[in-house]
């Protein structure tokens, strides 16, 4: 399924000749070439242990490859100090996990504003950060009272996932990474969640890279890719 949305500007993600081995050298990943265009929706699937978490760790700059290049928009992630990679992750990406996405002792609002603490450019883009957060939560059908006062742990799983979407979207990062975000939701909630996620990424123009086992969702994406098609596992001293 091809996208009808206009592709503008540099790719949200580029990986070229990337090679990585975990300490000890027992497992690694090699990606010859992989890109996510601006505003593109990419569905990535693969069996457990195929290296999805490793790929996400590389894209978010948590770990650094031993060779090759990774770029978030036009910012090189490779060759940077860990602190710079952390800053790039905060500025360039929004992350949604499968569940337990929120810091339980913070209010939903504080959770949504949390990335701005580490991403000054995203904060600048918001102008009024609190208002931007409330605009997002209202668009995600979250009541203001729940967002402002109750601790995040008091929300239902579905509500928590929507707060996680708002947190990922605030300040318009160019790439949203979603790691099995629907696995804790039932069928109806899953469809509603995907609708909201697409609506938000369309509104902000962010690219979406979603990792999931649930192939039934893949039709709604611009591209569906098996991890094995873009990455090869490395073992031993293959790096």
């Amino acid at each position: 399924m091809s996208s009808n949305r206009p592709v503008e500007g540099p790719n949200a993600l580029d990986m070229l000749g990337t090679r990585f081995l975990w300490p000890g050298g027992r497992f690694g990943l090699s990606v010859d070439a992989f890109s996510v265009a601006s505003s593109e929706r990419v569905f990535l699937h693969g069996p457990s242990g195929s290296g999805k978490s490793t790929l996400l760790s590389l894209i978010s700059g948590i770990v650094a490859p031993v060779a090759g290049e990774i770029r978030l928009q036009d910012h090189a992630l490779t060759g940077q100090r860990p602190a710079v990679r952390d800053r790039l992750r905060a500025e360039q990406t929004g992350v949604i996990f499968q569940m337990f996405n929120l810091v339980p002792y913070l209010t939903p609002l504080d959770n949504i504003l949390l990335p701005l603490r580490f991403a000054p450019d995203r904060r600048k883009r918001c102008l009024d950060a609190k208002q931007a957060a409330l605009d997002l939560t209202r668009a995600l059908d979250l009541p203001d009272a729940a967002v402002l006062s109750s601790p995040a742990s008091a929300l239902s799983v579905g509500q928590q996932q929507r707060v996680a979407v708002a947190r990922a979207m605030i300040g318009h990062p160019p790439l949203i990474i979603a790691d099995e975000p629907t696995s804790a939701l039932d069928m109806d909630a899953r469809a509603a969640f995907m609708d909201l996620l697409f609506k938000q990424t369309d509104t902000s123009g962010a690219a979406l890279l979603m990792v999931s086992h649930d192939l039934s969702l893949s039709d709604r994406f611009d591209r569906a890719i098996a991890l094995n098609d873009i990455a090869q596992p490395l073992h031993g001293n293959a790096a």
């Binding site: 800053r87 339980p104 913070l106």
Partner: protein
């Protein structure tokens, strides 16, 4: 959101264990500050007890012992000073004034001290304050007694009340045939005078006229009227306070007393003897300070253990923070900030506990030990101690912080729990 606010909210979410930890730190800080407060309070109280007395003379023993029994009414004299020697030394040209002191009897739990009316003029405390009467006046009649403020308060005595002196310090024999009358009640001084019954030196002689070798002589006792007509010059005294005409004469006079050929005597400078006393008790003070410092260290290590044991449960929180851009250093800094916040809260609680405790125990300390602790604010040293507690908390929290750093480096955004 600042790191401090994040740390505060994180601590609030674990309020039960945090409150216990802060309480433990607070208690240890209160103990440490309390020991220091007691130490300085005791020193100040002792130093304030006697002023403007150049020398104290007694039978030869130790200088600390002489100071303790003559000024602080602690312990007993091993021997007396003969009245002849006292008169001889008092007549020396360097001596401006001398006040004899005679100790050994008691009334209830309070010591009775025989002296001359000059005591009320010469005894000074807290940098030169003289004794003042809350009620009545110094003794006029042979069987008049002046009591300290604590004696009056504890026993509910008022002017004109009779008072029976007991023979010795822990004796059931009383001089009940010769009751005294309270002629004056002194104002509170915060010194051992508050817990003393003062009578005339001749009155000490008078009540012992019918006594010999610690027991009452057989036969009828001498009536008070007869005693009033008798020549009651003492044969011995316990000690004497001496003032010299010129401060330059203090050491020559001290040497002369110490070398007195007629009997073995000792003269001490109160300030120097106090210094000697502090050197003796200094070891115990250091030990006490050391023990209380160890209690603070234990509380801080307990806090570090609390943070460390909670790290595994917080791996998800760390992964979320990492996903939004926090580096491992920020995670470690969060833990150090939490530790410092707990220690700061403990320090504030400790100071509050100290003053609360002081308010409660001050009257008891004063009544039981004559120790008057001032309710002054925290000293620069106290504030330094509190700052060290917070800094030490940061130091010990480095252990869990390093572990959190390593965990978040290894886990990255992978939620482990």
């Amino acid at each position: 959101m600042t790191l401090l606010r994040l740390a505060f909210k994180s601590l609030l979410s674990r309020r039960f264990t945090v409150v216990l930890t802060v309480f433990a730190i607070g208690l240890s800080v209160a103990l440490f500050l309390g020991v220091e407060k007691l130490r300085t309070g005791a020193r100040a109280s002792f130093a304030d007890t006697i002023s403007n007395t150049d020398l104290i003379m007694g039978a030869r023993s130790g200088s600390v012992q002489l100071l303790l029994y003559s000024v602080f009414r602690i312990g007993n004299a091993t021997n007396n000073v003969s009245w002849e020697s006292y008169k001889d030394l008092k007549a020396r040209p360097e001596v401006e004034w001398a006040v004899p002191l005679s100790l050994g009897d008691s009334h209830r739990q309070f010591r009775v001290m025989g002296t001359t009316p000059a005591y009320f003029d010469r005894y000074q405390y807290r940098g030169g304050r003289s004794l003042a009467f809350a009620d009545g006046a110094r003794f006029d009649d042979l069987f008049d007694a002046v009591i300290g403020a604590d004696v009056a308060q504890t026993l509910g005595y008022k002017l004109g009340d009779p008072i029976i002196v007991a023979h010795g310090l822990a004796s059931f024999s009383e001089h009940d045939d010769l009751p005294f009358r309270i002629s004056g009640i002194l104002e509170k001084t915060g010194t051992p005078v508050d817990r003393t019954v003062l009578i005339g030196l001749d009155a000490i002689e008078a009540i012992h006229v019918d006594w010999q070798g610690g027991g009452r002589k057989s036969g009828p006792s001498t009536p008070a009227e007869v005693l009033r007509t008798m020549d009651l010059e003492p044969t011995a005294i316990t000690a004497a306070m001496i003032g010299v005409k010129s401060r330059l004469q203090i050491f020559p006079l001290q040497r002369a007393i110490n070398d007195y050929p007629e009997e073995p005597l000792l003269a001490i400078l109160p300030g120097l003897a106090l210094q000697e006393l502090w050197e003796i008790v200094g070891v115990a003070e250091t030990a006490l300070t050391g023990v209380s410092a160890m209690v603070v260290a234990t509380a801080l290590l307990g806090m570090a253990a609390m943070i460390l044991s909670g790290l595994n449960e917080r791996r998800r929180e760390m992964a979320i923070l990492r996903s939004v851009g926090a580096g491992p250093t920020t995670i470690a800094a969060l833990l150090v900030t939490e530790a410092m916040a707990m220690a700061a809260a403990g320090a504030v609680l400790g100071a509050a506990m100290l003053y609360g405790g002081l308010l409660l125990i001050r009257p008891w300390l004063d009544a039981a030990y004559g120790l008057s602790l001032p309710l002054s604010g925290l000293s620069a040293r106290d504030l330094t101690v509190l700052a060290i507690v917070v800094a030490s908390a940061a130091l010990v929290s480095i252990i869990p912080a390093i572990r959190a750093y390593r965990m978040s480096l290894a886990d990255g955004m992978m939620i482990k729990i």
